[in-house]
Symmetry: C3
Subunit: 346 residues, 3 copies
Amino acid sequence: MQFSAHQIATLLNGSLEGSPDVMVEQLAKIEEASSGCLSFLSNPKYEQYIYSTKASVVIVNEDLKLDRPVKSTLIRVKNAYSSFSQLLELYNRMRLDKTGIEEPVYIHPSATIGKNVYIGGFAYIDKNVVIGDNCKIYPHVYVGDNAKIGKDTTLFPRVTVYFDCIIGERVIIHSGAVIGSDGFGFAPQDDGTYNKINQIGNVVVEDDVEIGANTVIDRATMGSTIIREGVKLDNLIQVAHNVEIGKNTVIAAQSGISGSTKIGEHVVIGGQVGVVGHISIANGSQIQAQSGVNRTIAEGEKKWSGSPAAPYNAQMRSQVVYSRLPELERRIEELEQLLLTKELSK
Amino acid sequence: MQFSAHQIATLLNGSLEGSPDVMVEQLAKIEEASSGCLSFLSNPKYEQYIYSTKASVVIVNEDLKLDRPVKSTLIRVKNAYSSFSQLLELYNRMRLDKTGIEEPVYIHPSATIGKNVYIGGFAYIDKNVVIGDNCKIYPHVYVGDNAKIGKDTTLFPRVTVYFDCIIGERVIIHSGAVIGSDGFGFAPQDDGTYNKINQIGNVVVEDDVEIGANTVIDRATMGSTIIREGVKLDNLIQVAHNVEIGKNTVIAAQSGISGSTKIGEHVVIGGQVGVVGHISIANGSQIQAQSGVNRTIAEGEKKWSGSPAAPYNAQMRSQVVYSRLPELERRIEELEQLLLTKELSK
Amino acid sequence: MQFSAHQIATLLNGSLEGSPDVMVEQLAKIEEASSGCLSFLSNPKYEQYIYSTKASVVIVNEDLKLDRPVKSTLIRVKNAYSSFSQLLELYNRMRLDKTGIEEPVYIHPSATIGKNVYIGGFAYIDKNVVIGDNCKIYPHVYVGDNAKIGKDTTLFPRVTVYFDCIIGERVIIHSGAVIGSDGFGFAPQDDGTYNKINQIGNVVVEDDVEIGANTVIDRATMGSTIIREGVKLDNLIQVAHNVEIGKNTVIAAQSGISGSTKIGEHVVIGGQVGVVGHISIANGSQIQAQSGVNRTIAEGEKKWSGSPAAPYNAQMRSQVVYSRLPELERRIEELEQLLLTKELSK
């Protein structure tokens, strides 16, 4: 898709400097842009690039002062960053604007399909499923019996939603994510084998959640594993059965939350963190990457680090001394030597 | 599906107290149950809930004594927990009771399909594949050339079984798991590039194994990567080429076992554990979450922790001192100061 | 497929000892081989097995000296190891030699499909996609709008390539890998919620790359996430948005690289390593398994270990002392006691 500088200026309600007819077909950072690109300048740190950029069109703040002429066409707006974000959003909406039901798909006759949906080829929608209005169900998605998908939700290719699971509105789930696989529960038997404990609960994902590629959320043994509204989960995360993750909590890639643990609201968890089962983490906690949380965090709004996780500052202090451990040992030896000599010399 | 208290009492061979006609359609924990739920009480710790629960029907031990009247219909049985487990099992079997071959599927004419199977839409069964009786092959499953799936096995949606791999009986594999991808083997060349070492072995998964969602088991370079009977693997686990995992071993989510390592029987491995290649781990070992095992564990039935993994008790002792490292350093400084003063004062 | 010893000897230009008519149909290690197997002997350490092996045919070096008769037919060649590797390659090429377009598949009319390709059942190829000559696109693969797949590339079952992504030539991507999912970017709002930052860049995978099962590579916010030629990525790896991984770098399973980080060439990264965002790692660095790299590594060709990662030798020294921490604390106590006694005795 190509747009003229004039079209974009009109859309953003901005004023033009330079040729209104120059065409752009790509968005790029100002320092990386080539001809045909639309870019923006907001951070004063990058002002130098306005003179060297190859971008055909640059969106700038209306009060930007120039020392010398620039080659690009400029569009002056009140807030260049937010205008550009608006364009990004628009651009993505246009790119991902798929509708209609392709062939072949499998849709059970008992399923209810909303208005204005996209259902891609080879998608599989089982008994009694409800798909809300404006949903985008990409190819190879599987939605099991009785599952409900709220309106305006996107399931990218190859998402699995097991039976009975409930997905909210405006949820985005990326390719390969699995919602509702069995929790990991086995009862040890006298002969050393394990009996499977049937997992008959489900997963509830509330509104405005985003779930990354190949992330797994297990169904509850009974009741629900719950992902509260606004939660953002990165890729390759493990959420075990009966976990609850509070509103607007953010978890980075490859972290794992063990069974029945309850994560509070506005918690921020870094990558590759492990959290043991049956504990809770208070609202606003911040857990550094690669930490291992092995007991309840009762006081909120604190920073934690290490495995086992400890208050951040204490952990940092121990970490620094850890790097000096060989020196410490040597100093102890010297002290011992010194004292021994004294003893002997007495 | 709805059942009356009378129907359930008959099924469990229990005696009824209260209305026999009350209907239930869901299973729930006694403390979370609402009207229409069937629950159970086994642990004396939860006895208080029998008076406040909203469950319509509760299964209790036959010897349970009540202080005051309860609102729920009770079903008295010998062992409430095992009766309830029986119901869970039955419930799940009913829910997951799919049979028949849906359309469209791809089944190569040379494949052998057992009796009473379920093959979901868009499943792909390649040349010479054998699918045993009573198997459930969900939608989007891929089974490559010459693979064999034993009877009573369930492959949930989007499982991949590469060519030549052998899956046993009563195995359960969850969505997105990959069995038989190439082992990670490359020969470094003089020019800095790597040549792929062709991986021509397979994966053998024995009977009664369960494999979690998005877990990966690589095929052997030659021979077989072997998962022995009764092994339970959680989600997002990595099992590299030529690994062997012994009978009834249990591994939690996001752990990784490197190439050619041999894990014994009845080993329990926590989440996010890493095990290096070409070592062995003795029977009955217990490895704590986030450990890194970097050498053979020859003596069985021991507990290990940390990275590098050390005997659990020693590790715990070091861990405690680690948190006091800044204090230790200060004490050393004080000792040095004291001795220095002494030296000077001599 | 069965071959006679004579056929193999002819193929490898080797000389035969023993029956030329014995048939083999499998490849196996000399110590594990059974009748019907072809094996090889290259490492003198394994020479003993030549007398006990059940392999029907063994490829050996032309100068191998025998003490006593062997049961297997021998094929003498210049370099037994490289002759056997040649056979492995040939064997795999024959096994994986699929061509043609199966039914049903979804190929958008605007897509360009090269010559001599394999496109498996239920594969989905969207608008303007270009698939190069000799590509193998296995069942359930999804290739989004405008994506390009270079010639001689294999996408195993259930690979997802999101829209706009570019895959090079001779690339191998294993089952369940996701290329081009959204980067994890959210702008915090005043009300505690997060706004999604649209991710409009793509992923570029250059020639001769191999990507493991269920690995995820996110698309850039703008511009490209880049995997340079010859890179080998194991299973279940996370590569975040705007990362660049340099030529011939190798990363083991379950490692994660955070956003905008730049990994150099010929870097070797072990399993379960975490690398924070916005840093760079110099060429030839070696990062031990389970390390956490939290700052730029500017000097190349060094070995790093631990979390936070430190130079390998320093880390090893601290690690050794860590295991003696309880003893160290005791020695400090003894010193204090000794000094205290002295003070008191003064």
